[in-house]
């Protein structure tokens, strides 16, 4: 176990020991270690790297350290900057998990139910990846989650660059319970008034967050951006259905033109996504 204090030291440690595994909050990793599923040869602890535990501003964007904990992101000052990410952080689990689990860890684990992921997808966040020799490269979060671009050996997620949109954002998740639980489905929705856009991502129903791009563009045109962002109630409803149908499409028609009905559980998931998307847009525009 090594405990570097800067990002470049951590990258150097990982490069020196390619078998080593980086660990930040450890809420996923250590559970795997304790249950014997993972036996890392060495660990590189990231918790002493103070440069990635806060955030800074950079031309209209926030540069979030990958070591930010969910507890920190859930606080009001952070919520004023990026409300949807704060809401996702607060919903992400019981307090002892939120105190340890980090933003970077949520991305690296890339669990379908990771609550920060749909928010980052909706914000079209970019990862700043630190590589050997002080190298920095940018990877869109959606590319990493979709496996289009992967982290290379010795690389670490250093920062997450998120635009500051100064407009309402909503994160909603459906769980089977009142206490903290994994999302059955989640929706992140952000407004981008400067570009008169709505961006939405649906989490937990697929291996990565889904973006219903057509539905976003369609609904953005129906919003009266100059008149306190008014929208007709029917459009909210239609938006929900549009998002749900885009994310959970009907099965392809068979050879003879018949369409098999979706199983009841999938239909329920579709209804849930529709309700979440409708509520999210309604709250963002209210």
């Amino acid at each position: 176990m090594t405990l570097p204090t800067t990002l470049d030291e951590a990258v150097a440690a990982l490069t020196a020991m390619p078998a080593a595994v980086p660990v930040a909050g450890g809420t996923d990793l250590m559970a795997a270690v304790n249950s014997g599923q993972l036996r890392p040869a060495a660990l590189v602890g990231l918790n002493r790297i103070s440069e990635i535990r806060g955030w800074q501003y950079q031309d209209g964007h926030a540069l979030l350290g990958a070591g930010l904990t969910h507890a920190r992101m859930g606080r009001p000052d952070f919520a004023a900057l990026i409300p949807a990410l704060a809401a996702a952080a607060r919903a992400a689990g019981p307090p002892h998990i939120r105190n340890a689990a980090t933003l970077g860890g949520n991305i690296a684990s890339a669990a379908p139910t990771g609550d920060a992921l749909p928010v980052l997808a909706a914000l079209e966040a970019t990862l700043i990846v630190a590589g050997p020799g002080g190298a920095r490269r940018e990877v869109p979060v959606s590319h990493l989650l979709a496996g289009v671009e992967m982290l290379r050996g010795g690389e670490l997620i250093g920062y997450v660059r998120v635009p500051l949109l100064h407009a309402p954002q909503v994160f909603l998740k459906a769980t089977g319970r009142t206490g903290p639980g994994r999302a059955l489905a989640s929706v992140a929705l952000v407004l981008d008034p400067a570009r008169r856009g709505v961006r939405c991502a649906v989490g937990a129903i697929a291996p990565m967050p889904l973006r219903p791009l057509d539905a976003e563009q369609w609904v953005a045109r129906l919003i009266d951006w100059d008149n306190s962002r008014a929208i007709v109630p029917e459009a909210l409803h239609a938006f929900g259905e549009y998002v749900a149908a885009a994310c959970i499409p009907d099965p392809e028609p068979a050879g003879d033109g018949t369409v098999a009905a979706l199983p009841p559980a999938v239909l329920h998931l579709r209804r849930t996504v529709a309700a979440l998307a409708r509520r999210a847009l309604g709250r963002a525009l209210s």
Binding site: R90, K173, L184
Partner: protein
Amino acid sequence: MSNEAVTATTAGEAAPAAESLPHGLGTPLQPADAHAKTEGTFPYAADLWAEGLLWAAVLRSPHPHARIRSIDTTHAREMPGVRAVITHEDVPGRPLYGRDRLDRPVFASDIVRHHGEPIAAVAADHPDTARMAAAAVIVEYDVLDPVTDPEQAFEAEPLHPDGNLIRHIPLRHGDPEAVGEIVVEGLYRIGRQDPAPIGAEAGLAVPRPDGGVELYTASTDPHADRDTLAACYGLEPERVKVVVTGVPGATADREDLGFQLPLGLLALRTGCPVKLTATREESFLGHAHRHPTLLRYRHHADAEGRLVKVEAQILLDAGPYADTSSDALAAAVAFACGPYVVPNAFIEGWAVRTNNPPSGHVRGEGAMQVCAAHEAQMDKLAKKLGVDPAELRLRNVMATGDVLPTGQTVTCPAPVAELLQAVRDHPLPPLPKDTPEEDWLLPGGPEGAGEPGAVRRGVGYGLGMVHMLGAEGADEVSTATVRVQGGAATVLCAAVETGQGFTTLARQIVQDTLGIDEVHVAPVDTEQPPAGAGCRGRHTWVSGGAVERAAKMVRTQLLQPLAHKFGMSTELLQITDGKITSYDGVLSTTVTEALEGKELWATAQCRPHPTEPLDESGQGDAFVGMSFCAIRAVVDVDIEIGSVRVVELAVAQDVGRVLNPVQLAARIEAGVTQGVGIALTENLRTPRGLIRHPDLTGYALPTALDVPDIRIVKLVEERDVVAPFGAKSASAVPVVTSPAAIASAVRAATGRPVNRLPVRPQAAVVTAR
């Protein structure tokens, strides 16, 4: 039994002694270990240590059903640090064990019948070495198709030499031709609850110089476990000793013998102490679960809603081994109609073998599953008749003197109507309209998606009953010893403190009877005479009764010389707050003086009146006693997403007599909470017989946010004359009743039938709006 003579002095009555702490029956005496447990210093089995100990690991089957072609332990044996590898060939005694019948192998030999069945065990000098060596045992399987649907078990190839049918009870009571004007039918499914004890299984086995072995585990039935261990090790029972450690949670059979058997065997084999601590995954794979149940019901009623006839078919999925399935089935069949007067009942019950995880004792087994079904039927009947559900239940409730479908007359107090009226008349929780909207706790939780416009509130009722003590002729007996020396008393009784509060109760009993405040309860091991399993309220009744008798015998020994000296009988002397006084006030001395440095001992047994097995038509006086509960549930349902939040549960329970108010409230709250889990979240998924997500993230236990306000509205103290102190056990009946009440409330909120527990979100949405 004369229990009424006991004079309970509460702290409140003894007003002058301002600093006097609660003592005696009826007072909130605190458990002696409360501080140690809250501070984390209380030792559990997982904390034990012995010099030079080895670590054990158990290899478990990855398949639910397979034939074992070969087991090769060579590689595992050759690993450095490995001291012993054992399989079915190394079991020196009886290869099979089981509670009801011997049908379960210590290690699978030729066939595995469930996911997680033990096949081999390893002892090594490090826990990781032991686990790696267990993984290095090469087992060749011919994978077979698992039988996972209990309905298929009747037709399937026998999974076990004993056949697939474990028990069939065709209960026939009354007139089969009777019909009612109103008929309602339903099909209900109850999921698989895991007891999920907060401390996973652990134990330490230490070999003895005489060739025997001592096991330190959190066993809840040490003598039965000792007998099984000895038989399988081929040793006399005297050479095996089970020492009970702290019990970290036991709402079911606490320790899985699948761990204990290999553990002791490894200690015997290596001659070294061996320790095993199960991971959460192993814990889920190993211990017994609640019986998943399929129930088909038809209720007949007259135009006023009075029940005429109940027909039901009940199918329990026992997993591959019998365990307690026979008892669970008896309870399910006997209580299939619930606490209602039903003149004609025709109930068929089956418990069958499958390749699903093994089912066994989880409190309220059998009774809980049927309660969910008969209460759903009562809701259906009320809806069909257009009558208020509580009113319909009131027209049918049983009382003392009514007859169960088993032909047994209910002789104990059965204040069912009083319980139901108490919860019905309790004011409903207010709607949160006066608080700001952002403070509302909606279904889905504080950061959830709940929207006030989509939330509907529902109120539902559940009436439940459960039997106390073992049924059908089980010999319920307990032995206790009370010793008094130097102003302090000690209770020796093999009743295990599982959290039910037995040690506190024993202290209260002795304080009451002997007037001695300092009472210790000795730790439990199998050198003491047996007290039976810690389940079905046994220890409150039987062991509590034995402690009381022993204490009374000591009291007589203590008072006899005094009584003799003053020429009066011991009954005329009274012990209060450590002082002995005579009825006329002539004599006044202290207990300490009366003892004169003597040591007094007495041992007594308590054995309640016998019961009889159910006969071939399900008739017989099978139960010693019954307890009843009424719960009114108030839920909020987000009818678009189907998330449910239980807002409040109002509980009224028939407790006989309150022996310790704080402990009683805690037991009721804990039971109700376990019921919330069954109702909403707890279901161990086993697609094709494989346990998915054996962890506490995938298996959602209720958290503080899921637990509603629990209001104990009424505790009916009608003493049960046959029970010691007139008290009924309190832990099981809230578990039985609360899932039914919650489902009933979801039904009221959504208008949906809700015929499956846990309630799935898609069953709680209202689509046609």
